[in-house]
């Protein structure tokens, strides 16, 4: 019964397609709605472009995603306490034995540090307070619920 088969196929693919649309819409909106997230300042927004312009992601990660030559930067600002922004700015402006000095100008350094501060407030990585369930999932402090 090839006719039936074709209808079945359409039904299966149709369902999949519709679920894909709904799922995507959910991911674009409510699924990633994090009410606690800070507003991005203009400075931070420029900093985001600086981060991309120098391709910092080749060596660094946010939330563990990126290149592995350098450390994760999600919480680099709070890592150094009150001096966070100054320390980060020094790293970026001067480089170290392992991190190259990429030649950012002072405004760029300031902007990218503002961006790192913004990222710092979006969550904690790696999670410090979490709970592993018996079926293998992880609940962590930043979870929206």
């Amino acid at each position: 019964m090839p006719g039936d088969q074709r209808i079945n196929n359409r039904l299966v693919f149709g369902t999949l397609f519709v679920s894909f649309i709904f799922y995507s819409a959910y991911v674009y909106t409510a699924g990633t709605e994090a009410a606690h997230l800070p507003q991005m300042s203009e400075e931070a927004s420029r900093g985001q472009h600086v981060f991309q312009k120098y391709n910092c992601v080749a060596c660094h990660q946010f939330y563990g995603l990126g290149g592995y030559m350098g450390p994760d930067l999600t919480n680099v600002i709070s890592k150094y306490g009150a001096a966070g922004e100054t320390v980060a700015a020094t790293f970026i402006a001067s480089g170290t034995a392992t991190m190259p000095n990429l030649g950012l100008d002072p405004t760029e350094v300031q902007d990218v540090v503002a961006y790192l501060s913004f990222v710092n407030q979006t969550g904690t990585y790696p999670p410090k307070n979490y709970e592993v369930t018996w079926y293998g999932t992880v609940r962590q402090e930043d979870d929206p619920q």
């Binding site: 674009y28 990633t32 946010f62 290149g67 994760d72 592993v132």
Partner: protein
């Protein structure tokens, strides 16, 4: 057999892909050493070598998969390409854009997004020619009478999802996405789910195509099981990507769902184990000796990589492995072990079919040497990454440098095995490149003794 002019575009794509891999691996090796010795070629920053490496080796996967499709459809499936000219335009635009991307990397102009590290504008020609490719593909396979074999579905799915990848990967340009960190990352990784999913569809479709051609029957492409596995793959492509972002604070629902979906791949694992023995005996027959061996290697790497993928998809384990070199082992293990082996199998299958009198086209000592060097190196390479990843994941101190020093021996093994891996591949690629060249411009006289039966 002399290739007709209209078949050449597929072969040209394949040759370009091989070139891209050969050069791309070289930059990978440089990058590996820069990782260990930051002073090494400092002018050529790691910010440049990494994207050059990644873009070129990913291009290899796409170019050879696309080349196979452009070649197989008209040449073997007797489906006239809807527009050979569109295919030629596709080829030339790819070359020009590829060169522009290389130029932008070398001159330090970046888009600065992982995987699409080139300036966003350079995506436009790729995007447009992809549409051309899609139109060409679907109009060509439409001529097929009766139900499509599963590989037509897979290729078509790959075409469609790469398109979706592109659209999603650039949503960050809209402030609504860009200004929310969580949304930005999640959508970016959703798009990469479609990216890897799309090239896997193109490559696995090629694998099934080549396997059915070699076996001489269509079971693997027409059975209920074949369609079910395809469907499972598609389902995972759409809903399984969120295992990349378990630790980004999105809605729990998304993560739980991805976890459940990822585990359905256990079924595929079971299926592989079930088929193990029969596939082993299949591989004994030897007309397509080169093609067989690469496919066989891919089979083993599928198994190894699937086990690793399943482990790191469990959130509790992901907590340790995420953001470590285990992710790199996962990525490189599958792109080299699975995708590249399948694509080489496809290349050698074409060579054997097109050069029936050339004894080297079936089995040659050089290719076999390269094959073994590459596979053994890959095993070492893979293990070194897993060990380095465990070192990083289990380190609980606060010093990045201390952790880096601890895993340094593993990274050393990784970098050195990277060299032998590259050398092994180079030998294979060099042979394949030459032989494909003989298909394009046939040489008449050269009839040599068999080196290896």
């Amino acid at each position: 057999m002399i290739a007709r002019d209209r078949d050449l575009v597929g072969l040209n794509f394949i040759r370009l892909g091989m070139l891209s891999l050969g050069v791309g691996m070289f930059f990978g090796v440089i990058g590996g050493f820069q990782f260990l010795f930051p002073e090494f070629l400092r002018e050529l920053l790691f910010t440049k070598t990494r994207p050059i490496h990644v873009s070129m080796v990913v291009s290899w996967i796409f170019l050879v998969a696309i080349g196979g499709i452009y070649f197989y459809l008209p040449r073997q499936q007797k489906l006239k390409l809807w527009s050979p000219n569109a295919a030629r335009i596709h080829f030339w635009v790819f070359i020009v854009t590829g060169l522009a991307i290389l130029f932008s990397y070398l001159t330090g102009q970046f888009g600065g997004r992982e995987y699409f590290e080139f300036p966003a504008a350079l995506s436009i020609p790729i995007f447009l020619t992809w549409i051309l490719f899609g139109v060409n593909y679907f109009n060509t396979v439409r001529q097929q009478k009766g139900p499509w074999p599963v590989y037509y579905w897979m290729w078509g799915t790959g075409v469609v999802f790469f398109f979706i990848t592109f659209c999603e990967a650039y949503l960050w340009l809209i402030p609504y996405f860009r200004e929310s960190m969580v949304r930005e990352i999640i959508v970016q990784w959703k798009s990469y789910g479609a990216l890897t999913g799309s090239w896997n569809m193109l490559v696995y479709g090629t694998a099934i195509y080549v396997a059915t051609r070699i076996a001489g029957n269509q079971d693997a492409a027409r059975s209920k099981m074949a369609y079910s596995l395809y469907f499972l793959g598609l389902f995972n492509l759409i809903f399984g990507w969120a295992h990349h972002t378990y630790l980004v604070p999105s809605q729990t629902w998304i993560r739980l769902f991805a976890y459940a979906v990822s585990m359905t791949e256990l079924f595929i694992l079971g299926k592989i184990l079930w088929d193990w023995r029969s596939s082993l005996s299949e591989y004994q027959k030897n007309r397509h000796c080169n093609a067989y061996r690469f496919m066989f290697a891919a089979d083993i790497w599928v198994f190894i990589n699937l086990v690793l993928a399943l482990i790191i998809s469990v959130p509790a384990f992901n907590l340790i492995t995420h953001g470590t070199h285990i992710t790199v082992a996962h990525a490189m293990g599958s792109t080299i072990g699975i995708n590249s082996m399948i694509l080489l199998s496809s290349v050698f299958y074409i060579i054997r079919e097109e050069l029936p009198q050339n004894v080297h086209a079936s089995c040659s000592k050089q290719v076999m040497t390269g094959f073994w060097v590459a596979n053994i190196s890959l095993a070492v390479f893979f293990l070194a990454l897993v060990m380095a990843g465990l070192g990083r994941g289990l380190y609980d101190g606060a010093s990045f440098q201390e952790m880096a020093t601890q895993i340094r021996p593993f990274m050393m093994v990784f970098a050195v095995s990277g060299i032998t891996l590259m050398l092994g591949f180079w030998v294979v690629l060099w042979n394949a490149f030459r032989l494909i060249g003989e298909i394009i411009t046939p040489v008449s006289s050269e009839q040599t003794q068999p080196e290896l039966a």
